[in-house]
């Protein structure tokens, strides 16, 4: 299964070869021996050739024998379905690596001399997002400096309070959750019980993440799901209150709650960037799980623990809350357009 190390006498092994020789990376041939149709899908092929139809030409400037080998192979087997598959795969790869989409000259220049970082600095999920979001995230990270914090002394601005156009990303599942976790590294977490009499559900459990003046609020149940994991990771400042273990335990004991977590997670994921930053409209996640909270009013008193409702109601609540969240998102869009 492993690729053969390129024969001696070649013009010096590149990083890919070295990686392969150390069994670190599957090769084109290894994976594709059984199915020749897939030959074009080798990794190095994609890295070196953005377009299969140009593959032979693109290698003209390269002296790498490895490249030639790949190029020849590609040249032989060029079919339409492969092209589609190829485009798909190159999109995927371009999400992960810097691929200029240009010809082999650039490639060879990279290989020969100047070193460019291969990996994207902040690779994002491949499921739904677009490339623009990626830079977006980075920019937001930069903006988390105190510069974006409330301007106490500054002259008044006429910015529409609460307009934030960055609440648009809709992600789902674990990928998003992991990203969010990554985003929260360095934040200190505290669990709080918040009472807001404007809500039909006036009491809710939240987790507040804070780093300097940046606040992020998440629903508590979410943390319950990733609680053990977070703890193992031992992420620096993520401490929890004394009583929280007890609370977490109590919540985890409720199968209805944990059963709905995936729904809750995806709902919450709609607004991973809803930080409580100054001049930023915050926090749709709060809304999103308000309804289920109603169904499970938390009480530290054991006397109340018996209270609960059917999971049917819970799901219903979730759906409606999701809808509400989307509405809010839409609102935020409108704000930014204003």
């Amino acid at each position: 299964m492993l690729c053969s190390v390129p024969p001696a006498g070649k013009s010096g092994s590149n990083w890919l070869d070295r990686l392969r020789s150390n069994r670190g990376f599957p090769t084109t041939s290894s994976d594709n021996n059984n199915d020749d149709n897939n030959d074009n899908l080798g990794l190095d092929h994609f890295l070196r050739n953005q377009n299969p139809s140009e593959s032979t030409r693109s290698n003209s400037g390269s002296t790498q024998s490895d490249q030639e080998r790949v190029a020849n192979r590609t040249h032989e087997k060029e079919h339409q379905p492969q092209q589609q598959l190829y485009n798909l795969m190159s999109n995927v790869l371009s999400e992960l690596f810097f691929m200029d989409g240009d010809n082999g000259n650039t490639q060879s220049s990279k290989l020969s001399g100047k070193k460019f970082p291969r990996k994207q600095t902040a690779p994002k999920s491949l499921t739904t997002s677009t490339t623009n979001n990626n830079t977006h995230l980075q920019r937001e990270e930069e903006e988390k400096s105190p510069a974006c914090t409330p301007k106490d002394e500054n002259a008044p601005t006429t910015a529409s309070f609460g307009s934030d156009n960055r609440l648009t990303k809709v992600k789902e599942g674990n990928v998003e959750a992991e990203e969010e976790e990554r985003e929260l590294v360095g934040y200190s977490a505290s669990e709080v019980t918040v009472i807001d009499t404007s809500f039909g559900v006036w009491k809710s459990e939240k987790v507040v993440f804070r780093r300097k003046n940046v606040w992020k609020v998440r629903e508590k149940r979410r943390k319950v799901r990733s609680f053990g994991r977070k703890k193992r990771k031992g992420s620096g400042g993520c401490d929890v209150d004394d009583g929280d273990d007890e609370i977490v335990g109590e919540l985890m004991k409720k199968p209805k709650v944990s059963g709905s977590e995936s729904v809750a997670g995806s709902n919450r994921g709609q607004n991973p960037q809803n930080d409580l930053r100054e001049e930023v409209c915050k926090d749709t996640p709060d809304d999103l799980t308000q309804v289920p909270k109603k169904r499970f009013p938390f009480s530290r008193s054991p006397k109340k623990s018996g209270k609960g409702s059917s999971s049917v109601i819970l799901i219903k609540g979730m759906l409606s809350s999701k809808k509400h969240g989307e509405k809010l998102l839409k609102k935020c869009h409108e704000d930014t357009r204003r």
């Binding site: 301007k151 106490d152 008044p156 200190s188 505290s190 019980t193 609020v217 100054e278 006397k303 609102k331």
Partner: protein
């Protein structure tokens, strides 16, 4: 430990004597009211020099009528639970006893031990009774704290605000106060509660009507969160943004000029289309100075309400010793409910509480600085209108 135990024993025996004496010595009183019996009991527990003022109002800061109403509110929940509480002498606590203990704990701010000693209870019983009362009040008393739901109700509020200093169509005053806590410095989780004034605190944001009633509260957020962040995180903010609150009748000032419903707040809040803050800066034109004066006078309602809240319910005044941060917001809520109930019952006892406006001493005015252009227009319009220079 020894001397304390001894003194308790002494107190108990004294109390028994007192009970016997009262039982035999006052036959002319007829059937004993709960309060008569209760006051005797608590007075018997006090040394003569420290004896409580015997009046009901001074013990509970409310009239007997209000007390009875609160008892009726929580009766079902307080008495439904299986475990019944008992005094230290084994006597079971009645509903009134329980409510009295809880109210005393909330209103005096005294420690569990002090309250327990003055009522002849174990301090843990005081804690349990108070918590049960808090839970019961949350469930039963929430209708005393709600946003005005009918148009006549809102019209009355607006009219009362206008009577204060002429602000037309004003629906409420928003303000924030801090409930201070004493948390262990060594605990890293305490850090998030450390506010900008270097106190550990929890925030209470309230919107107050002209009668000093709380109409909307948000609490539970760490004191480090600034006023405008608490507002932003509130549902009120979202509702107003969506046009689902403060969306009532516009007031016609003149031909073609109307003002919408709004609330007012201090400079710690943003200027929004529905939230009007004072003009900033020095040497303002006279019309703006005048507006600021009126704004400030109207805003005092909220400051007084928060000061009275803390004055009447002293458990949230001063610095709480290592409170449970999940329970504290619920205690704050119940104090706000009790505050409103006293107002709703038109209780004269509230007049005995001195009026102050210093609810957050040691906290400096925050400046948000965010301005919405619609808010600017509304504020200018109000300023012109109040200075009498509004075109007819």
């Amino acid at each position: 430990m020894g001397p304390v135990r001894g003194s308790r024993k002494r107190k108990k025996t004294e109390k028994k004597h007192e009970e016997n004496a009262s039982a035999s010595g006052s036959p002319e009183e007829g059937p004993l009211d709960w309060w008569d019996e209760f006051s005797r009991r608590i007075n018997g527990l006090q040394s003569p020099s420290k004896g409580l003022d015997n009046r009901f109002e001074s013990v509970f800061k409310m009239s007997r009528k209000t007390f009875d109403y609160i008892c009726s509110l929580v009766k079902e929940d307080m008495m439904a639970k299986s475990a019944h509480f008992v005094f230290a002498n084994g006597k079971p606590m009645s509903l009134c006893d329980s409510v009295a203990v809880a109210l005393r704990r909330l209103s005096s701010g005294e420690s569990l031990v002090t309250v327990g000693d003055s009522f002849g209870l174990n301090h843990s019983t005081v804690s349990q009774v108070t918590w049960r009362f808090v839970e019961a009040m949350e469930g039963r008393g929430l209708h005393h704290l709600k946003w005005p739901s009918t148009e006549p109700e809102m019209a009355e509020i607006k009219s009362k605000f206008e009577k204060i200093r002429g602000l037309p169509n004003c629906c409420g005053v928003i303000d924030t106060t801090h409930i201070m806590m004493c948390l262990p410095q060594s605990d890293p989780t305490s850090n998030v509660w450390l506010d900008h004034e270097k106190n550990h605190s929890m925030v209470l944001q309230a919107i107050v009507d002209p009668d000093m009633r709380f109409r909307d509260i948000v609490t539970g957020w760490p004191g480090k969160m600034k006023d405008w962040l608490v507002l932003q995180s509130s549902n009120l903010y979202k509702l107003c943004d969506k046009g689902e609150r403060l969306n009532g009748k516009n007031l016609k000032l003149s031909e073609g000029s109307e003002i919408r419903e709004y609330i007012i707040g201090d400079s710690g809040y943003p200027l929004l289309p529905y939230l009007i803050i004072p003009y900033e800066g020095k040497e303002l034109p006279e019309s703006r100075e005048e507006f600021n004066r009126r704004h400030h006078a109207t805003q005092m309602v909220a400051q007084r309400a928060l000061a009275r809240l803390k004055e009447m319910w002293r458990i949230i005044q001063g610095v709480m010793w290592r409170p449970d941060k999940h329970r504290l917001p619920r205690i704050i809520l119940v104090c706000c409910l009790l505050h409103n109930i006293v107002i709703d019952m038109e209780d004269v006892a509230q007049d005995e509480v001195p009026l102050s406006h210093d609810h957050d001493s040691g906290y400096h005015q925050q400046i948000c600085g965010t301005v919405d252009i619609k808010g600017v227009h509304l504020r200018d319009k109000l300023s012109l209108y109040l200075s009498g220079r509004f075109p007819p």
